[in-house]
């Protein structure tokens, strides 16, 4: 019994062995979850033959071919034609010529990636803004039928996207919103706003209303009090909610496939359409996926403290 130490909070301090086992489990779990990511990254720097060789190659010569193929469109040429060209101006030029091809122009990857950025961040901004206002309303005012309304808001998340896909498709065609960034922003906002309202209501409920009351007595209107006193204290919740909304909007595939095809297409439906000669160009697909991961990774790292609190909120008292 003497080996059990207790802290001031009278929580039993884990022994070094327990800590080591726990650490090992966490590391193992992290490794397992990171294998697909590592696989994607490694595939992105393999040559097309290496990428489909069986058994999979662990040791291989890395190449940027996947990235070159991702960013460009190419045409096949005769060796004589290629011989006659001036010296290659870039690494990609050189790699492409090695496959008896020349670069014909840029691919659609960056425009699609740009669409993803615009639509995901745009809808996240809207969903979080609207969600914050709605959550504040539900938290502070006596809204008639508040519980029913909240349930209704939540219920919009209860069915799979495919269930509402056809009505939305028809509606969007009618209103001219098909294949527009605005249409996608509105759609993702609508889907995310329910999550935002529920998450943020929890956070705003935790902010004592005395702060706003104090501000209102101190000479501010309710809206000014909301802006100056409630918002600064809700930043943690807002950041956590923004991450969840962004991840959803960034990764969304079903609606994007159905509603976008050209100018407003996002990256997720575009990436699988990258086709090389003689089948799927797996390194290019993997390269597209790798780059696609970067924004969400950066955003999450920047806001990770808030995210952690967001996931555990309710369980932790300030």
């Amino acid at each position: 019994m003497s080996s059990v130490k207790t802290t001031a909070h009278s929580v039993v301090e884990p022994t070094p062995t327990v800590k080591r086992i726990a650490g090992a489990i966490v590391i193992l779990y992290a490794l397992v979850t990171m294998i697909p990511l590592a696989w994607i990254f490694l595939t992105s720097i393999k040559s097309p033959p290496d990428s489909i060789s069986y058994p999979p190659k662990i040791v291989f010569t890395p190449t940027l071919e996947g990235y070159c193929n991702l960013f460009t469109t190419r045409t096949r040429q005769t060796p004589d034609y290629i011989q006659a060209l001036p010296a290659p101006s870039s690494t990609c030029d050189e790699i492409t010529r090695g496959r008896n091809m020349v670069i014909a122009g840029p691919s659609n990857y960056w425009p699609r990636f740009g669409n993803s950025l615009l639509i995901a961040f745009g809808s996240t901004f809207l969903a979080v803004s609207l969600g914050t206002l709605a959550a504040y309303g539900f938290s502070r005012f006596r809204v008639p039928l508040a519980d029913d309304l909240l349930f209704f808001i939540l219920s919009t998340r209860m069915m799979p996207p495919i269930a509402v896909a056809i009505p939305i498709y028809l509606m969007y065609r009618q209103f001219g919103l098909s294949d527009t960034a605005l249409g996608m922003i509105l759609l993702y906002t609508a889907v995310n706003v329910s999550l935002a309202v529920w998450l943020l209501k929890g956070f705003i409920d935790e902010i004592p209303r005395e702060y706003e009351e104090a501000a209102m007595i101190d000479g501010y209107t309710r809206l000014q009090a909301f802006w100056k006193v409630v918002l600064p204290q809700a930043t943690t919740g807002i950041a956590a909610t923004a991450i969840f909304c962004l991840i959803f909007a960034w990764n969304e595939y079903a609606f994007a496939v159905l509603l976008t095809s050209g100018s407003a297409q996002t990256a997720p439906p575009f990436i699988p359409t990258i086709i090389g000669e003689g089948g799927q160009d797996w390194p290019a697909v993997a390269a597209g996926t790798t780059i696609f991961l970067v924004p969400i990774l950066v955003f999450t790292i920047v806001l990770r403290k808030q995210l952690l609190r967001g996931i555990t909120f309710g369980a932790v008292r300030k």
Partner: protein, 335 residues
């Protein structure tokens, strides 16, 4: 001048009556304390004056204006809350400056700076102006909260148990400081508490609230020595007033209709006497004084006694009443 008048105010929350037919005048420069137990309507009264709640009926006037339709910001009041008093995302300086930076006031920054520093000196927090408000101790926080009210010169200061979350020593200190500052500024102040010591030491007048009604209002001395009924008598005095049958002890001259005698320490004369009418049950030694638990024919009394009085549990003493309070069967005082 900033006289504040409540005229026949009523407020209910659902089925609960919070305040009923409350009329109260707080004169200019006066320190009024509302004393009552939890749920007596103290906080609601403050919130009604501040405009955080709207009364169901009745009228509130501040300095002669009917403020019924005005927002809290327009009413020119300052409020100190019981807790959650500081904006946690702001420094002490910014907390104190917050009311002055409001769109309703728009003071220039030199004036703001001057007043923030002046108030910081007054509540003795100058050395912590740049600290985050969450880094302060409880006493410092409450001093800043009071400072944030004092930084303005409102018609009235409203304070909702501002000292209740502090420990006894700090409470005693801040009590004195608050009274000193109020005198210095000559400000009008309505203070709510359930602590009779705070009420007795700070108030010009005390109002006793019970179940949403103002039972009695008067100077601390009047309220203590001349309570209107049993409820008021029971609010004040430590130890609690003893309620006895009219014929239990000698020295009483009950008026007709009296059904109970209220006896505090000053109404009881103790004499050591082996043949006395009472028996000492138990003695609590508080150091500077003793709590004497006495039994008289099945009735228990508690009174203060000189710590040097040489008695011990089991001793008999003689108890005589000296001008006690008389109450009718409805709890009203009989004089």
């Amino acid at each position: 001048m900033s006289e504040v008048v409540l005229h026949r105010i009523g407020k209910t929350f659902g089925d609960t009556v919070a305040v009923e037919d409350l009329s109260l005048t707080i004169r200019d420069g006066e320190f009024v304390v509302l004393l009552g137990p939890t749920g007596a309507g103290k906080t609601t009264s403050l919130r009604l004056i501040a405009g955080l709640e709207r009364p169901d009926c009745g009228r509130v006037t501040i300095a002669g204006r009917d403020v019924g339709r005005q927002s809290p910001a327009e009413r020119d009041v300052a409020f100190v809350f019981q807790q959650y008093s500081l904006y946690p995302h702001l420094s002490v300086y910014d907390n104190l400056a917050f009311p002055l930076r409001s769109p309703a006031r728009r003071l220039n920054s030199d004036e703001i700076d001057r007043r923030v520093r002046e108030v910081a000196r007054m509540v003795r927090i100058e050395h912590k102006l740049q600290s985050r408000s969450t880094r302060l101790s409880g006493g410092e926080m409450q001093r800043v909260a009071i400072g944030r009210a004092l930084v303005r010169r409102p018609a009235i200061y409203l304070m909702d148990e501002p000292l209740s979350s502090l420990d006894a020593k700090l409470r005693a200190e801040l009590r004195l400081e608050l009274k000193r500052i109020q005198k210095e500024l000559g400000s009008t102040l309505l203070y709510v508490t359930h602590d009779q010591v705070e009420a007795m030491t700070m108030a010009d007048r005390i109002g006793i609230l019970s179940e949403g009604r103002l039972v009695q209002i008067g100077t601390p001395r009047e309220i203590y020595a001349d309570p209107a009924n049993l409820h008021v008598a029971a609010r004040l005095g430590q130890p609690h007033i003893n309620l006895l049958p009219t014929d239990l002890l000698p020295g009483a001259a009950p008026p007709s209709g009296a059904s109970a005698i209220g006896a505090r320490t000053e109404h009881l004369e103790i004499a050591t006497d082996a043949q006395g009418n009472a028996e000492v049950d138990w003695i609590e030694h508080l150091g500077d004084q003793n709590h004497l638990h006495i039994r008289v024919r099945g009735h228990k009394l508690v009174t203060l006694a000189d710590p040097y009085l040489s008695i011990k549990p089991g001793d008999r003493i003689n108890l005589t009443l000296r001008q006690p309070l008389y109450f009718g069967s409805d709890g009203e005082r009989l004089r």
